[in-house]
């Protein structure tokens, strides 16, 4: 369905906004710890630091926050929007409506203001004169250029420092504790004390200006709570990097691509710090390959030789990895691939988020292939699933894809600190020298245990019977070349059995069910956060109770079948056009259950928001 969008994609709907009782005066209504603040600027202008300071200040006040950066696919000079959501209930999905706009970009200012819902609040650079555009909003103007000159004598730096001024203004207007702002700022600039001082002066200038010149007329306030104590703020890619480090990853080969590059780049930092021995020697190798074909080839070579090896990429890389992935599936070589999904097809929107690679990845490679996929929802799951991915890849001797996305990977998420992995590293069925000495002989592709999983040896194992011949062409149990139909079929059926075995080992789907509701919702990955909020909206606004199942892996675990069985109507919510997860479900569930599935799909590249899901679901419910 095609609907009207404003520039940043909030639907230009007039009816679906929760009205705020702002009259342009600070009325009796106060909206405390429930707002989304959007900073509109251009990339490369240094506003990222200001936004981080703002985000952290609120976080330090104990108010749950999330930060989402909507940036263009270029390096500098194009419009960027950073949105901070503060929410006392802990909702951290994108909020559809913007409550508080900090307008710094002349190019988008008019459009940005026009797309706001009545009652919103706008902080703008004086010369933009935005208060002329509408009369149903609260406006504050700030003469940034005048304010910046005295605090920043060096003209060259003013463009950057200007951005810190709005931090001070916003802090004053929302009543954010300046002590927290300073703490956040000094943390941000860490050892660069001079820069910190300069920027702190700018924040103060903004604060003072607001205090002296602006009369609070909007309802939005931040007030101290205690909901962030002990929490961390982290992006999913950093969490994944940490996870891989603690999962014992030894070889990383990669080719830069947005939004996956930061996963490996952060990992390099962490590994340099924590995975170098006392002798100065690294317990890992991270290599930038010449492209994704090479990156996955190296992962396969390294895994075959016994390393815990991985790569990270995005859609175009997945396309290029198809042939090698098929080889790994068929020759049974472990591989861990992080797909930080962005909007496809083709180059698509490289800096927007999506869950659009599922179907293609599930069957990646010509011929009959199937792959294990994991769906992390949070930084904590990026951390944990890193471990799962390596263990599964080695236990099942097959590629494992971790399907993250740009929203999870690159945005700031509040999270509980990660727990140290208690389970030991699982390397799967590997026969060592001693095993071979005991066994005398073995067969690489024999289903000894009845689970479809054969045994392997690592190259270099010092036994005359250790070696075997790995190939992508037809092979029998002994890993010998064969074109015999029976050999081929038997092997393919064993691979199928192995995949079925995986069903009981992959992370299980999580159900929240009261056992009474007739409506079920299925989601996964970052879509989860909208569903949490949608379910509350459905309950609070429509008195509709729903059950919920969060998928965590493919193939689907038993819970998935049970959940669908238990509900009349099951809404599968996802961020792609072709209802890809729904499709995978249809292939897996009992045919009789298929009619129960309904799809809610979002494809515009912005993180999915609860309001849109709620509206669509209620429409489909005929209400």
């Amino acid at each position: 369905m095609v609907v009207g969008y404003d520039q940043k994609g909030s639907r230009m709907a007039t009816t679906d906004v929760v009205p705020q009782e702002s009259t342009g005066q600070l009325g009796p209504k106060r909206v405390v710890n429930d707002m989304s603040i959007q900073v509109a600027t251009v990339n490369g202008s240094g506003s990222q630091s200001s936004n981080n300071v703002l985000l952290r200040s609120i976080f330090q006040m104990g108010v749950p926050v999330s930060g989402k950066n909507l940036f263009p696919s270029n390096i500098a000079g194009l419009p960027t929007w950073f949105t901070i959501r503060a929410n006392k209930n802990g909702y951290i999905a994108r909020k559809k409506e913007i409550d508080f706009l900090v307008s710094m970009n002349p190019e988008t200012a008019q459009d940005d203001v026009k797309s706001l819902a009545p009652g919103a609040c706008v902080l703008f650079d004086q010369p933009l004169a935005l208060d002329k555009v509408r009369d149903d909003l609260t406006f504050y103007s700030v003469p940034y250029d005048k304010l910046v000159a005295p605090v920043c004598p060096e003209a060259k730096l003013r463009k950057l420092v200007k951005n810190m001024i709005y931090v001070g203004v916003v802090a004053q207007l929302l009543d954010i504790d300046m002590a927290e702002v300073e703490k956040a700022l000094r943390r941000q600039f860490a050892k660069k004390v001079k820069a910190a001082n300069l920027n702190w002066a700018a924040v103060q200038a903004g604060y003072e200006y607001a205090k002296t010149n602006l009369v609070k007329r909007d309802p939005f306030l931040i007030s101290r709570m205690d909901k962030t104590r002990g929490k961390i703020i982290i992006d999913g890619n950093s969490a994944a990097a940490l996870g891989c480090m603690f999962a014992g990853c030894t070889v990383v080969t990669w080719y830069p691509i947005t939004p996956s590059s930061s996963l490996v780049e952060t990992m390099i930092e962490y590994m340099k710090e924590h995975r170098v021995g006392a002798d100065g020697k690294a317990t890992f190798a991270i290599v930038q390959a010449e492209d994704e074909l090479a990156a996955i080839g190296m992962v396969i070579g390294a895994s075959w030789a016994g390393a815990r090896a991985m790569t990270a990429t995005a859609g175009p890389g997945i396309s290029l990895m198809a042939e090698f992935t098929g080889l790994a599936y068929y020759a049974e070589v472990p591989a861990v691939i992080w797909d930080i999904q962005r909007v496809g097809p083709s180059t698509g929107l490289p800096t927007r988020t999506s869950q659009g690679d599922l179907l293609f990845t599930a069957f990646l490679g010509h011929g009959d292939t199937k792959h294990i996929m994991l769906f992390p929802t949070s930084p904590a799951e990026c951390f944990e699933m890193a471990h799962d991915a390596f263990d599964l890849a080695e236990q099942f001797q097959t590629p494992v894809f971790v399907m993250s996305d740009l929203d999870l990977g690159m945005n700031n998420w509040m999270a509980d600190p990660f727990t140290y992995p208690e389970k030991p590293i699982k390397r799967g069925k590997v026969l060592g020298k001693e095993d071979l000495a005991k066994l005398g002989s073995w067969q690489r592709y024999q289903d000894v245990d009845g689970d479809g999983i054969p045994y392997r040896t690592l190259p270099g194992t010092d036994h005359p019977a250790a070696a075997y011949f790995t190939r992508g062409s037809g092979h029998n149990e002994k890993a010998q070349y064969t074109e015999r139909p029976d050999d081929f079929e038997r092997n393919m059926e064993r691979l199928n059995k192995k995949f079925e075995t995986a069903r009981s080992f992959v992370p299980r789907a999580e159900a929240v069910a009261n056992g009474k509701s007739k409506i079920g919702i299925i989601a996964f990955g970052t879509t989860h956060w909208a569903i949490v909020e949608t379910r509350d909206q459905l309950r609070d606004e429509y008195q509709v109770e729903t059950d919920y199942l969060r998928l965590r892996s493919y193939p689907f675990t038993r819970e998935v079948h049970d959940f669908i069985e238990q509900h009349d109507r099951v809404y599968v919510v996802e961020q792609n056009r072709d209802a890809q997860m729904s499709t995978l479900l249809k292939l897996d569930i009992k045919a009789e259950l298929t009619p129960r599935l309904r799809s809610i799909c979002h494809i515009h590249g912005l993180p999915i928001d609860a309001r849109s899901v709620t509206d669509e679901l209620m429409t489909m419910e005929g209400k």
Binding site: G230, I232, I234, L242, M245, F246, A247, G248, C249, T250, V251, T253, Y270, H274, R275, G277, G280, K281, A282, T283, A285, V287, A289, E290, L293, A294, I296, G297, M298, I300, G301, A302, S303, W304, A305, G306, A307, R308, A309, E323, F324, L327, P417, Y420, P424, I425, L458, P459, G460, T461, P464, A466, A467, Y468, F469, T470, R471, G472, Q480, Y481
Partner: protein, 348 residues
């Protein structure tokens, strides 16, 4: 000590006590007379003579008749027959995981220069410790003889079709891009290829060997420049090779006026008996120039064109633990509880 004449003679073994049999592979399925079979034989001999433990060898290949050959030698070594044109990345990954292994890649001209040109370029740049043997027949044997990118200008197919694209000279590319041991030989030149392979085993870094290896079924006719006849008629040896392994304690004198001696990474010596005055195989520019001249003259120049026995390989520059990454224990690859706590602290 006298031995009684009745005892059965013990079979011949190499310096690590293995027989030549221990270096054999499965029965070849290539055409009788295919040059690739001869190369497999040379590999077996060289590995045997150098006393390489078969279990310490990784064999890699892509797809093609040539790429099948790792199944026909050294069954006791670990083999990965991968996909068409992308073996270099698989070999690179394996060596990252375990840099203590010997490694040998066998490929074809189609596998390396047509579909594989990209990975070839980057393999050479990295100077990975890998012996990379191109079994070059100027055509795609396995798909029935179409021209590859090493087919010479004017060379003809059996059907009479003429090649009108210039050939890629893999030796020139390799030298230019960073390989540290670059040579060309001929599957029919037993002695030269044998010595070259032994020297290759003694080298640490990428050894790029372009071995002309006629395809008797599709490219051995009149009009082909990769036929036995053509190569025999046009081969020019740059020098005669003698290889003196480190473990053979022979210190024969040599005359620097008539031979050029290179000390290899493992202490062996490669001696190039000069057939051309003044050729210095450690001079990259000279090597390139000589190759370009040979190509212009239509010579099939063979020999070790370029060698740098001391340049570090990529895998050694990475400053990685001496033990293979592949088998590091959990205690080494999983940082402590304290490290996680510290990381979390930093994010609060």
């Amino acid at each position: 000590m006298a031995t009684t004449s009745t005892s059965t003679p013990s079979p011949k073994v190499n310096r690590i006590g293995l027989q030549i049999l221990d270096y054999r592979g499965g029965k070849t399925t290539l055409c009788a007379g295919c040059g690739h079979n001869a190369i497999s034989e040379r590999i077996i001999d060289a590995m045997y003579e150098m006393g390489i433990q078969p279990e310490r060898l990784l064999k890699f290949s892509g797809i093609g008749c040539s790429s099948k050959t790792p199944a026909y030698f050294m069954s006791r070594a670990f083999a990965f027959n991968s996909v068409h044109g992308r073996m270099p990345s698989v070999a690179t990954g394996a060596l990252l995981a375990n840099k203590t292994m010997h490694a040998l890649g066998v490929t074809g001209d189609g596998d390396t220069v047509s579909i594989g040109a990209g990975q070839f370029v980057h393999l050479m740049r990295r100077n990975m410790p890998l012996i990379y043997v191109i079994e070059n027949n100027g055509c795609y044997g396995l798909t029935k003889g179409q021209f590859s990118a090493t087919a010479d200008l004017g060379s003809t197919l059996k059907s009479g079709v003429v090649n009108d694209l210039p050939p890629v000279d893999t030796c020139q590319m390799a030298i230019q891009l960073g390989a540290t041991f670059v040579g060309r030989s001929f599957s029919g030149d037993k002695k030269q290829l044998h010595a070259m392979l032994k020297a290759a085993i003694a080298h640490r870094g990428t050894v790029m060997l372009d071995v002309i290896s006629p395809c008797v079924t599709f490219n051995d006719h009149e009009g082909s420049t990769k036929s036995y006849k053509y190569v025999l008629e046009h081969e020019e040896r740059l020098h005669e090779l003698d290889f003196v392994p480190s473990f053979e304690n022979i210190s024969v004198d040599y005359d620097p006026g008539t031979a050029f001696q290179v000390t290899m990474h493992d202490g062996s010596h490669l001696r190039l008996r000069k057939l051309e005055e003044e050729y210095n195989p450690t001079d990259r520019i000279q090597a390139m120039t000589r190759l370009m001249e040979a190509n212009a003259k239509g010579e099939v120049l063979t020999g070790v064109f370029y060698i740098n026995a001391t340049a570090p390989s990529f895998v050694d520059m990475l400053n990685v633990t001496d033990e293979p990454l592949a088998t590091l224990p959990e205690s080494v690859v999983r940082p402590s509880r304290e490290v996680l706590a510290q990381c979390m602290e930093e994010l609060m």
